[in-house]
Amino acid sequence: MNNLLWLVPVLPFAGFLILALAGKHISRVWVAIIGAGSVSLSAILVLIIGISFLSHPPATGYYSQTLWTWMQVADFNPNITLFLDALSLVFIFVITFIGALIHIYSAGFMASDKDYSRFFACMNLFVFSMLLLVLADNLLLLYLGWEGVGLCSYLLIGFWYENPVNGYAARKAFIITRIGDTAMAIGLFVIFYQFGTLAIPDILTKAPVLWQQGASIATITALLLLAGGVGKSAQLPLQTWLPDAMAGPSPVSALIHAATMVTAGVYLIARMHIIFQLSPIAQMIVAVIGAATLFIAGFSALTQYDIKRVLAYSTISQIGYMFLALGVGAWAAAIFHFMIHAFFKALLFLAAGAVIEALHHEHNMFKMGGLKNKLPVIFWTFLIGSASLAALPLISAGFYSKDQILWYAWASEGGNPLLWFIALLGAFITAIYTTRMMVLVFWGEAKTEIGHHPGKLMTVPLIVLAFFSLFAGFIELPHNFGHFTLFSDLLHQVLPETVLKAGMNNELQFQLLALLSTFGGIYVAYVFYYKQPQRIEKLKQSRFVMNLYLFWFSGWGFDKLYNTLIVRPIVFIANVNKNDVVDKLYQGVTFVTVSLYQSLSFTQSGSLRWYIMGLVIGAIIILSMQIML
């Protein structure tokens, strides 16, 4: 069945082509069927392929399928080749499966939108690009998918194009990720000249042979790739685009800006892990970026009033966890968290979308409230998602994935107490803002009337996702707690196992601490937002707290910083130079010519005596030249 692999990306692409070319002439039902159906088919196909892959693993550990030679120039010959191993299997599973659910949800969510077919066309194109990204056999094809998802993200963030704000957010997303992509492109150049190829398997086999452990070239390459990942995954310092990207429809936020695209950076680093392993510095930087991002994004999430922005910052923060895991060498843990996060964050976004739609496109949490009884399905699924996000112990999937990361942040070779402490603090904050969100949206008194209730098309995907958010964690249990390692066994075919420091066996203490931080967070939020909301108001009277609040609210001032340092100067130069200063040079030449003309034309005075004078002067010059020289 593996040789049907090409169909996995091609199905959504076919869907895209049909919708893009003939979308106007197809009825809305068929648009939905084609759009959601193509992705669902591909999800089914992935299941089949996955089963066949797992039951008959290829000898090399991967399966690859060359479609055609993309180009062949000198010794540069990237192919259009699909590449399937355990890592990409996990990703294509998540992409197609969650993708299909979100498509189904969208069929209901977008039902009243006039650009129905355009939406599904873009979504299909996105799924196609994302699949290409994770199935690419070489970095160039990966780059194709990488930019392709960027394009779709751009198209979908700006889906409601009449509002210039959306367009601005879309452009911001595209351009900031492009900055990372550019660095990544340079990384590709370096890799090509180091290894003479961009094929991922070749690179991974050649790298340890050609490069010394800790070689500076490895660091440079790793950092360039990291820059790409940082851009796409909205990590520090390129994280500013993601909160704005929430301008897109909620299914888009769920699919692109939570579940799949933003984790492409995680995929890239995991995929190129050998290069990162060769450079401890680079790996350290990955961990530090992850920790710093999860920390600052957590605080920002704490202060948002727009429900989707809370989720956006929380996404940034959660991806920070994944980066932290990658950085400390907990490869499988990072991918595990990616998968679990995809489930619960997609769920949260979809549920939030349902809430927002029910409340007439109200994004402000402070204007929500009391929805617990009015939207029970949403409430319960949202609650499950939140539990997972807050890593509620034992019963939520999020606990299992996050706990693993916390543990490795302390105990692995690359880990250290500071990273662990930040991660723990992050977990505490996560619990606070998650609870705050729950409390504000579902408890308290109702502030806005409910419009229409979500239909079946929307609730079923929520329920499925909720199921996974609860139970997907059980495929990987901690060592001291069942030691069930289905997921990491699978991934260890591809990714190295995490090396622990010597003498680390007190995992339980750390689990208890994590548990404490979660409950502590929930309690704090409970106190401040439910029990005694006036305390917040009291705190806000202090100037310091208020400033801090605003600082966090603005995402730690990064936007402002970039605006002043980079955007404004360039725009200023561009506007000042609108008429092209170089042209002045040529205008100067013209001016000189014309002035010469005018002064010469003055000599043509029409006076005969003047002409004679000219003649005589000419004669004198010639004669004196004749005689002098």
Binding site: G606, S607, I612
Partner: protein, 101 residues
């Protein structure tokens, strides 16, 4: 070079310069023409002197040609001057500045 030739050449040069000065200084067209005639005759004189230096008749032949040419020129010149006077009521060369630029 014989000294007499030298002296005659000097005289011719002097006449020539006088003629040039005359053309430049005078504003009346007739006087300008006269000055040109002086220049032409100075050249003729120079030819005669040069011919005598080499004991050839060529210089004098040339002089006669110059005379003939000067006469033709003056005749046309005077005709033009008549016409100018007819049109402008003046012989001031500085008034003839209709074309310029």
């Amino acid at each position: 070079m014989k000294s007499s030739t030298e002296i005659v050449m000097l005289l011719a040069g002097l006449l020539f310069v006088l003629g040039v000065a005359g053309v430049i200084i005078r504003k009346n067209i007739i006087f300008m023409l006269l000055s040109v005639e002086v220049m032409l005759n100075a050249s003729g004189l120079a030819f005669v002197a040069a011919g005598s230096r080499w004991a050839q008749p060529d210089g004098q032949v040339m002089f006669i040609f110059i005379l003939a040419m000067a006469a033709a020129e003056v005749s046309i010149g005077l005709a033009l001057i008549l016409q100018i006077y007819h049109q402008h009521k003046s012989l001031d060369i500085d008034k003839l500045k209709e074309m310029k630029g």
